[in-house]
C-alpha cells in the first residue's frame, strides 16, 4: 500500500521472480550497497525498508523480498496484496526465468492492484557472454504489458538504484491521492460489511 502524508510516501514493494534470478541481491545492493557472490536462498520472505528522496518528497519503500521457490508460490498473494509496486526479476542468462517472469506478470495483472507500478528487471546484465534472453524481446514484452523495463546487475550495481528511483517517481501518479490507504484493506472492509448485512 502507498500512503502519502507531508510529502512522505510509504510504498509497499514486492520482488517476484524465479529462484536464483537475483531478487535478494538486487535488494541488498539497493538497501545496503552490498553484493555477495554466493547469496543464500531466501526462505519465506525477507523484509527491508529504504527511503529515497524524489524531487521534494521522500518515498519510503517497504520491500518484500520473496522466495522464488515453488513452494511459496501459493503464498505470494500474501506478499503482493496491497503492494504499490512490484519488480519482476529474471536472469538474462536463463530463458526459463524469463518465462517464469511472464507468468508473474500475468498473475499480478489478474490478482494484483490495478494501479500497481510494475517493473521488469533483467538481472545479471554483467554476464553478457552467457545471455539467453535478448534485451529487445524483453523490452517488446514490457511495452506490450505496460511495464517499465531495465536490465540490471546487482554485481556491478548497474541500474539498481535507477530502477527503484524510477518506480518512486512513478508512484504518486499511479496512486491517486484520493485513494491513499491500502486498496485491498478498504475492499475487504466493504466485503466484510456486506457479508454481515447478508447474514443479519
Amino acid at each position: 500500500m502507498a500512503t502519502i502524508g507531508h510529502n512522505n510516501l510509504n510504498a509497499k514493494l514486492v520482488l517476484l521472480g524465479d529462484m536464483g534470478a537475483g531478487k535478494s541481491s538486487l535488494v541488498l545492493r539497493f538497501v545496503k550497497g552490498q553484493f555477495l557472490e554466493f547469496q543464500e536462498s531466501t526462505i519465506g520472505a525477507a523484509f527491508f525498508s529504504q527511503t529515497l528522496a524524489v524531487n521534494d518528497a521522500t518515498v519510503k519503500f517497504e520491500i518484500w523480498d520473496t522466495a522464488g521457490q515453488e513452494r511459496y508460490h501459493s503464498l505470494a498473494p500474501m506478499y503482493y496484496r496491497g503492494a504499490a509496486a512490484a519488480i519482476i526479476v529474471y536472469d538474462i542468462t536463463s530463458a526459463e526465468s524469463f518465462a517464469r517472469a511472464k507468468k508473474w506478470v500475468q498473475e499480478l495483472q489478474k490478482q494484483g492492484n490495478p494501479n500497481m507500478v510494475m517493473a521488469l528487471a533483467g538481472n545479471k546484465a554483467d554476464l553478457e557472454e552467457r545471455r539467453c534472453v535478448p534485451a529487445e524481446d524483453a523490452r517488446a514484452y514490457a511495452e506490450e504489458n505496460g511495464l517499465f523495463f531495465v536490465e540490471t546487475s546487482a554485481k556491478t550495481a548497474q541500474n539498481v538504484n535507477e530502477i527503484f528511483y524510477e518506480i518512486a517517481k512513478k508512484l504518486p501518479r499511479a496512486q491517486p491521492p484520493q485513494n491513499p490507504a491500502g486498496m485491498v484493506l478498504v475492499d475487504r472492509q466493504t466485503d466484510g460489511s456486506r457479508a454481515s448485512t447478508c447474514c443479519s
Binding site: E40, S41, I43, G44, A46, F47, A67, G68, E70, R71
Partner: protein, 682 residues
Amino acid sequence: MLPKCPIVPRANGYPIVPGACGFPSPMASDSVSPSSSSDSAYDSAAYQNPNPNPNPSDKPINAIDGQLMSSLVLADSTDSVNHEEGPPSSVNEGDIVDANVLASEESDRTVMVEVDVREEEEEEVQRSEAVVVEERETGGGGGEGEVWRVNSELEVDAPDSPNSSGYAGERGTSSASSACGTGEDDICQVRDGDFVNGVVESQAVWIPGKRHVDEDDASMSWRQRKKHFFILSHSGKPIYSRHGDEHKLAGFSATLQAIISFVENGYADEANNGDRVKLVRAGKHQVVFLVKGPIYLVCISCTEEPFESLRGQLELLYGQMILILTKSVNRCFEKNPKFDMTPLLGGTDVVFSSLIHSFNWNPATFLHAYTCLPLAYPTRQAAGAILQDVADSGVLFAILMCKHKVVSLVGAQKASLHPDDMLLLSNFVMTSESFSPICLPRYNPMAFLYAYVHYLDANTYLMLLTTSSDAFYHLKECRLHIEAVLLKSNVLSEVQRSMLDGGMHVEDVPVDPSPRSGSASPHLGQHSPERVREAYTGTGGPCGLWHFMYRSIYLDQYVSSEFSSPIGTPKQQKRLHRAYQKIYASMHDKGFGPHRTQFRRDENYVLLCWVTQDFELYAAFDPLADKALAIRTCNRVCQWVKDVENEIFLLGASPFSWWGKRIEKCFAEWPVGGLIAGHLRL
C-alpha cells in the same frame, strides 16, 4: 506390538519420536552392565559379528547396495534352495535381540535385515558376505521366524585409494579422503588457529551450505563420505541427499526404495504388509531406514553412532522437512505417486546441512531438551514479562533466542512448544527481518504458522509465531515495543555479556564448601578474573572433571559446561559429543534399563552418568580420574547446578502443557521428589 517400543502420547496427541529417549538400545546391551561400573571399551561384541568365517568387507556404498540387492533377490528367487529353518550359524545372540527389539512400532510384523560383513583389513579384493533376512512376529517375541541365509560371491572393484576401503573414513584420515574435499565427517581439520581462549564452539568453523554437488554415487569421494543422509519418495525419486546432486543419485535412490519396498511387500507370503526394514549392518556401516508415509529417509553411516541416535536424527530430518512444507505434502503423492518433490524444497539445502551439522555438536539433537543462555534471574524475568505482554495480544509463541540458546520464551495459553520443534525452528535459518510460513511438526504437522523473525543483533533474535498470515505489521509493532523494552531494561547488553562470559566452567565447580571464602553457592559470572582457574590450566576442573551435561527432566532443559582445554578443539568436542550420545542411548536402553548409574573408562575419558527421576547427569573426566573422587565431584556439580538453577534454567513459565501432569505422575511414582533425590553414594 512390542511393549518395549512405547509410543508416548504427548499433549497434542502427536507421539514422541522413538528417538534417543525411551527407545531401546540393543546394540549397547552387550557392553553395558546395569548399575555397575565397567571399564569396557565402546566397541562391544554387538558391533562385531563373531562369525568365524571372516567376510572381508570394507566396501564402497554402491557395492553394498549392489550386494544387498543381489542377495535379496537371491533370497527371493532361491527361496527353496537357501531356505533354512532356524537361525543360521552366522546369527549371534545380539542379532536376535536386535530383531526383536527393533520391531517397528507402527507395524504388526517386522523384518530385520542384517548384512553381516566381517571386517578384515588385510584382505582386499575377494569378498563374500552373509545376508540374513530375519522375519519374526513382533507380537509374539518368540524366536520362530523364517530365516534366509544367502551367501553370494561378489567381485568388487577395488578402489584406487591406498587402503582397501571405499570408505577411507573407517580408518580415520587417509590420503584418499583428504584429497577429495572437506566433508566434516571425512576430515576433521584441527586448526590451531581456531583454538581461542581454550573455548571454541565447534559450530564456529562450519560453513553452511551444500558441498560436493558435483559428486554422485560413481564418485570415489562420494563413496568415502562417512555419513550420508537421503530423503526419497516411495516411488524412489530422490528428494534430498546430503552429499552430491540429488538428480544424479536417482539410480541410487531407486535402489534404496527397492530395498524398502522389497521388505515391505516383496518376499514371502500372504499378510506381511507393514513389514519394515529398519537397519542393515554391513561391517562398520549401518544403513538406517525410516518410513514416513510416502517419504523414505535413509542414513548410511560408519560413524559408530548407536542405531537409536541415527534413527532420532532421521526423525529430526523428517521434522525439518515438515517444518518447511507441512505434512500435507503427502497429498501430492496421493494424487501422483511419481510426484517430484525437489522443486518444493528448492533452496533449503542450507537448512538440512546445518541440521545435519548440529548432529555433531548440539546435545539437543539427542537429549530432546533445550538450553538457556545463562542470565541473572531478574534479567530473564524482565524478558519474560515483555514477551508475555505480546503473547496476550494474539501471538502464539514469543521466543527470544541467542544462537541456539533460549533467553526467554512464552506461549499463549494452553499452547505448548516441544523442544524438538524449537531446535528445528532455530535451525531454520532466517536472516534480518522476515515473515515466513513454517510448520511446527510437534504442534500441528498439518498447518502452517507464520513466523516473524527479527535479529536484534548479530546473534540475538526474536521469533513471534502466529496463526494469521496478515499479522506482519502487528508483529512488527510488537517487535518494536519488545526491542525498546529490552534495550531500556538492559536485557540485550546482559545477553551480550553472557555470550562473552559463557555459562558454567568446570574450573568453577566448588571444590569444597568450606575453604571457599564467601558464598558457598557462587553466582555465575561473579567469579573474580584471577579465580582458581589457573591452578587447573590444561587439566579442566577438580578431580580431572573435563565437562558435564545436566538435563532437568521436568523442565525439558539441559545445561552443559563450557568446553575447556582438554577438549578444546572441534575434533575433541565432536568426539565427546559422540561419546555422550552413545552413553545416552545405553542409559535409555529400555531392554536392560533404564540404568541409574554408569561408570565407564576408556582411553579417552572416564564417563560417569547418573539418571534419576529428576535429572540426568553426564560427566566426562580425565581417563585416569579416580572413581571415588569422580563420584564426589558429580555430587558437587549437581549441588552447584541446583544452587544456580534460576540463572541457567528458564523456571516457572514452562511452555509445556504436559508439565503439570508429568510432575503429578512423577511424584506419585517417586515420592521423594525434589531436585536432588539423595546424593549418589559411594
